[in-house]
């Protein structure tokens, strides 16, 4: 027929394709084999470059072959004249670019380019920046290329202002770009260094306000885009707190000194060193954690020799120096007193580190207002709700307590997938609030009952608490960190769903423990209680283990020192 093309049938096509594939595979395999043989024989010459480039050109993710190439190039560096080397490098750069076009997200290729550039005597960084710009033009979210760009910018000492302008241009194109926002968070502190804050430091207010406007533009445009919210949180976030000793407690009865730190540390040889000065002279002691396990912990304690607790003297001074953290704390044990302590109060705003915080609460306040405005338009946006909660925490946790709980309820309804996370977060905030209230009242009794708690946190802040009520919550365990409560005498944890008691161990002053209506199954879960020397009263009513035949006898046998076990 006139003009009608004759076309292979699909069967013929498939056959042709298969043959082609087989041919390709053969070539690939033989080239690979030759490279490996040559490498083994130490023949690292240009033929290896040629062979590897055939393979890498088609499949740039063959990491071993990149290694081969590096070996060859290193070898050739020694043998070739500068002119020859320059030509070699030029070819290599061109080859790398062609590989990147095959796969712009190839780890090996980008790495090889880094390696090559850092070996050059006079690398052309301008061309590299241009290359990055071109690749980001194609895919503005290629984080491999972003990584490489940061490397190049650092090497070439590109002024941060220029790089910031570059991120501007890409955010303008598409603000849904984690890499670009992240790069801003690295560049801005460099551009506006603030005294007394590290690399994660705060920004001057005018810069901060400009960034907040930018990011607000993003989340008002698309409130479901996470990248903007994350950057928002970084902007309002606070630098990590300074290392500090939070509380120091000495007990004459237990001949024991307890310290709590601002972050979990591991004390021991080769790690952190703690110095104890008793009455200004050093005293060598053994440090251990309250639960006896050697791992990073907020709380460390040591036994004191009788000499340093001598009641004849009017007072003893105890000073703990944390050498690495460049921090120390001192407390005094007066004559006739059982204990002495010194601590930072939770009512000091530094103690419970909020997710969000800036110098000026006016900034937070105005952020809260715009978020509330957005929330009215988007009542079901989880990012907005969460940010409102965090802002309220940062502004005034007690004032906003009720409102915060309502927002939590809405948030849980719109984001059921993260209900457990939200419950835990809510528990954390409630514990913080209760601790604050306790300290304002200047008592050592903490009520955490009827709060729907799912998790216990900040226990390291409760070193001095004597009475703790955890009843009517949703706790499933009394966690190991509870062992930090060295002064605890009475613990009530009725009406929870507690199954394990790991934390109720080594509590030197615990007298009374109520665990009614929980889910304690086996008497063996009570084992940790053995290590509490003063425990005399134990309420176990309403637990499965009470149902067992001969339960009380069994328990009496297990816990001989407890006078009365009620089942």
């Amino acid at each position: 027929m006139h003009g009608r093309l004759k076309v292979k049938t699909s069967e013929e096509q498939a056959k042709a394709k298969r043959l082609e594939r087989e041919q390709k595979l053969k070539l690939y395999q033989s080239a690979t084999q030759t490279v490996f043989q040559k490498r083994q024989a130490g023949e690292l010459d240009e033929s290896v470059l040629e062979l590897t480039s055939q393979i890498l050109g088609a499949n740039p993710d063959f990491a071993t072959l990149w290694n081969c190439r590096r070996e060859v190039l290193q070898q050739l560096e020694a043998q070739k004249s500068p002119e020859e080397l320059a030509a070699l490098v030029k070819t290599e750069l061109g080859f790398l670019e062609s590989c990147l076009r095959v796969n712009p997200k190839s780890y090996g290729t980008w790495h090889h380019r880094c390696w090559l550039l850092s070996r050059l005597p006079e690398p052309n960084w301008a061309r590299e920046l241009e290359l990055c710009a071109r690749f980001l033009e194609v895919d503005e979210r290629n984080f491999h290329c972003w990584d490489y760009r940061r490397f190049v910018a650092t090497q070439a000492a590109v002024p941060p202002a220029e790089e910031l302008a570059f991120t501007d241009s890409l955010i303008t194109r598409n603000f849904s770009n984690y890499s670009s926002w992240h790069y801003r968070s690295c560049l801005l502190p460099q551009l506006h260094p603030q005294p007394d804050s590290g690399s994660q430091g705060r920004l001057p207010e005018d810069v901060l306000l400009k960034e907040l406007e930018l990011v607000q533009n993003a989340f008002f445009t698309d409130p479901n885009d996470q990248s903007a919210w994350f950057y928002h949180r970084w902007l309002l976030g606070r630098a990590d707190p300074q290392d500090a000793l939070r509380c120091l407690h000495v007990s004459r009865d237990e001949a024991c000194l307890t310290v709590s730190f601002s972050r979990p540390i591991l004390v021991g040889s080769g790690t952190e060193t703690l110095l104890l000065m008793v009455d200004e002279s050093p005293l060598a002691v053994e440090w251990r954690t309250p639960d006896g396990r050697t791992r990073p912990s907020h709380v460390w304690l040591c036994d004191l020799p009788a000499a340093s607790l001598n009641d004849q003297l009017p007072q003893h001074t105890f000073r703990v120096i944390w050498t690495a953290g460049d921090a120390q704390k001192e407390c005094v044990l007066l004559k006739g007193r059982q204990e002495g302590w010194c601590r930072d109060s939770a009512t000091d705003e530094q103690l419970f580190r909020c997710e969000l915080s800036v110098e000026k609460s006016t900034v937070l306040q105005s952020e809260l207002e715009s978020c509330k405005e957005l929330q009215e338009l988007e009542p079901e946006n989880k990012w907005c709700l969460l940010t409102i909660i965090l802002l309220m925490r940062a502004l005034d946790p007690l004032l906003y307590e009720k409102e915060t709980l309502q927002y939590f309820q809405t948030l849980k309804a719109v984001d059921p997938m993260r209900a457990a996370y939200l419950d835990d977060l809510r528990s954390k905030f409630l514990v913080e609030n209760s601790v604050l209230k306790m300290e304002y009242a200047e008592v050592r009794v903490l009520h955490l009952g009827h709060k729907d708690l799912t998790v216990l946190c900040h226990l390291e802040q409760l070193l001095l608490v004597t009475h703790l009520d955890l009843s009517h919550n949703r706790l499933r365990a009394l966690p190991p960190a509870l062992a930090a409560l060295r002064c605890l005498e009475v613990l009530q944890a009725n009406d929870n769903t507690i199954e394990s008691l790991d934390g109720v161990a080594n509590l030197p002053r615990l007298r009374e423990l109520s665990l009614c209506n929980n889910r304690l199954q086996q008497p063996t879960v009570l084992q940790p209680l053995v290590s509490c020397p003063k425990l005399v009263l134990l309420h176990l009513q309403g637990n499965p283990l009470c149902q067992a035949v001969g339960a009380s006898e069994h328990l009496a046998e297990l816990l001989p020192s407890i006078n009365s076990i009620l089942t």
Binding site: G3, K8, N217, A218, T221, L377
Partner: protein, 653 residues
């Protein structure tokens, strides 16, 4: 040579406009023997693009066209007793009210010529007549200097036909007085053209003196080849039927595209950018935070409005503009959505139509960039040629400057059986596809047409300045008074390869209510200011300056039903000229319907087979080879950053 043409085909296509070209390609692709002819010297008919000298020649042709007296119909002798003839028209009546104004200083010398010898659209391609080809290839230069001053071409329908002279020059004297801007009394007769040029202070060599941004007429002439002036101003919707067809048929490989960079609105006397994509909304300085949210929320809703009937069901009976008032949108947002996104007007659409249009706009957004539209590099006129190329690759035969005198109809069967061409050759075919401008008065006596008002301007800067001067913009200016229509303005920058450096090519289009100039001049006046000497001193002129302006009306036959033509045999199919709409869906739909009539049950423009799958016979011509012999070389100087169509979803692997 013409008598070398085969005497038998399956399909004869008369006219090389977009729908005809698509059908020709589709038929040829399906194995039909296709003859594609056009009486004009260029491809595309009213879909064509011209260089600057090309458009001047086009204007001149219209002038000459009116003088043509039909030659003695020699063909009638060939009609047998059992046949009758449907004579075709030799006169194109689709363009009216052509008016040209030149504002750039005309320091024109006799020797100013367009650089480069061949004109793209005039290069004769496969015309069977080599002498004619030679003739058209080198247009005499005096022709150019003559037509450069043209002109209004009075035609029978022109209201100004009472003027004494046939030629009228709207030569704006460079006096610097705005009052003279549209003053017809400054007209000079064509004979005085030389004097005019003598009056202009002669420059030593204007070419070497670009002077601060001053573009002179001679520069425009000299760089005329940089212009590709479209007769119809359209854009491609990124998810429109034409894009789908270009991709499906792989015709896209013959063309390159650029994304429109911004959508503009004209509000309260100011041009401003319409935020329509996510990035636009984010970057917008004019919207408040809350407006950003409201706009995004509304647009997100429009994307899938069908899923939320509760939000619009109650408003189905009212106009879209009333509906917008019920939504939480500020007046400026309502304006943007109504005029620039849905591209409708206060009264024109109801809620559903408006939502549909908005959805379509948004649906196209982001496929190739931040706006929903693409523009073909080198102009809209490239597109018909791309399909012609495809047709030729599959064996279609092309003849430009080849007119058809009549269709021959068999009296008994009432079917058309052949054509008789200008050389008197009778060519037999099964199907005949005719662009409607070829029909004579007799055939069209009952047809009612609408009109499109068009204007083409060359200006010296963009209507909205930004950091980048390479912006491609679309602006909708709503009709002011009741009964007037919204004017669509498309501003093209030099990187679209349609105008010379330092200029912008602006297309205005609206449905006609009067002549093109009467319809469009008010909008031109709002957006631009005529170029005059004195204002050059004042660099702070806000509006872009006009260097050159062309007005004309084009016939819109897109809604003419086939039944309105007299006595058409069933195997004669009619293609309409361009419609006034922005997209090309109408042409594609038309092409597909007609193709299905010609080749029922055949796939419409399936992708061509891979070259490696083609079995090449020893005796048949290799397809690649025939491609080169038939079709002119595509433009080779293509800018790098252009979009090549591909399925982006697939590319992102």
């Amino acid at each position: 040579m013409a008598d070398n043409l085969p005497s038998e085909f399956d399909v004869i296509v008369i006219g090389t406009g977009l729908p005809e070209s698509i059908i020709a390609a589709a038929c040829s692709r399906s194995g039909q023997r296709v003859l594609h002819v056009d009486s004009r010297s260029y491809y595309g008919g009213n879909w064509a693009s011209f260089s600057f000298s090309g458009i001047l020649s086009w204007l001149k042709e219209y002038q000459e066209n009116s003088d043509i007296v039909n030659e003695s119909p020699a063909w009638q002798e060939q009609i047998l007793e059992n046949e009758e003839a449907i004579a075709l028209s030799r006169k194109d009546k689709t363009i009216q009210h052509v008016e040209v104004f030149c504002y750039a200083s005309q320091d024109l010398h006799e020797d100013v010529e367009e650089a480069g010898a061949l004109q793209k659209n005039h290069a004769s391609v496969i015309s069977g007549n080599p002498t004619e080809a030679a003739h058209s290839a080198c247009l005499p230069s005096e022709d150019e200097s003559l037509c450069s001053v043209i002109c209004e071409v009075p035609r029978e329908q022109t209201p100004s036909s009472d003027l004494e002279t046939a030629l009228e020059i709207h030569d704006v004297e460079v006096t610097g007085e705005k009052e003279k801007y549209y003053d017809n009394k400054t007209c000079v007769k064509s004979g005085s053209e030389e004097e005019t040029s003598e009056n202009v202070p002669t420059e030593e060599d204007t070419a070497l003196q670009p002077k601060k941004n001053r573009i002179t007429y001679s520069q425009i002439i000299r760089e005329g080849r940089k212009f590709n002036i479209d007769l119809v101003s359209k854009l491609l919707y990124s998810r429109g039927l034409l894009i789908d067809l270009l991709i499906k048929s792989n015709v896209s490989r013959y063309a390159e595209f650029k994304n429109i960079t911004r959508i503009l609105a004209f509000r309260e006397g100011r041009v401003e950018q319409v935020p329509c994509s996510r990035a636009d909304v984010f970057n917008s300085k004019q919207l408040t935070m809350v407006e950003k949210r409201m706009l995004m929320k509304f647009l997100t809703f429009c994307m899938e409005y069908e899923k939320h009937p509760d939000q619009y069901k109650a408003y189905e009976e009212i106009t879209f503009s009333e509906y917008l008032k019920t939504q939480k949108l500020t007046p400026s947002l309502q304006y943007f959505v109504l005029h620039s996104i849905a591209m409708t007007s206060e009264k024109a659409s109801n809620t559903i139509e408006g939502l549909k249009a908005t959805k379509n706009f948004l649906h196209c957004l982001g496929r190739y960039g931040n706006t929903p539209f693409l523009f073909p590099l080198y102009g809209q006129g490239e597109l018909p040629q791309c399909f012609c190329r495809m047709c030729a690759v599959f064996g279609g035969i092309y003849c430009l400057r080849h007119s058809v005198q009549c269709l021959v109809v068999d009296k008994e069967s009432r079917k058309c059986k052949a054509i008789i061409d200008q050389f008197g050759q009778r060519i037999i075919s099964k199907h005949f596809l005719v662009e409607d401008s070829y029909f004579s008065e007799n055939t069209c006596s009952h047809v009612q047409y609408r009109q499109i008002s068009r204007s083409v301007l060359i200006t010296d800067r963009s209507v909205l300045k930004t950091d980048s001067d390479q912006q491609i913009s679309i602006l909708t200016v709503p009709g002011e008074e009741p009964g007037t229509f919204a004017v669509r303005v498309i501003e093209l920058c030099p990187s679209t390869m349609t105008c010379m450096k330092g200029t912008y090519l602006v297309h205005l289009t609206c449905t006609s209510s009067k002549t093109a100039r009467e319809d469009l001049e008010p909008v031109v006046r709002k957006l631009f200011t005529p170029y005059t000497e004195t204002e050059i001193e004042n660099e702070e002129v806000e509006k872009p300056r006009l260097l050159w302006a062309l007005y004309f009306n084009m016939r819109d036959s897109s809604d003419v039903s086939r039944n309105s033509y007299n006595d058409l045999p069933s195997n004669v199919y009619v293609c309409s000229g361009p419609d006034g709409g922005l997209g090309n869906d109408n042409a594609v739909k038309q092409a597909e319907i007609l193709f299905q009539l010609i080749c029922p049950n055949e796939d419409f423009c399936p992708p061509p087979p891979n070259p490696e799958d083609i079995i090449i016979d020893g005796d048949s011509l290799q397809p690649e080879a025939s491609e080169f012999s038939v079709i002119p070389e595509a433009n080779s100087e293509t800018p790098k950053e252009s979009t090549s169509l591909g399925n982006p979803e697939e590319d992102s692997r």
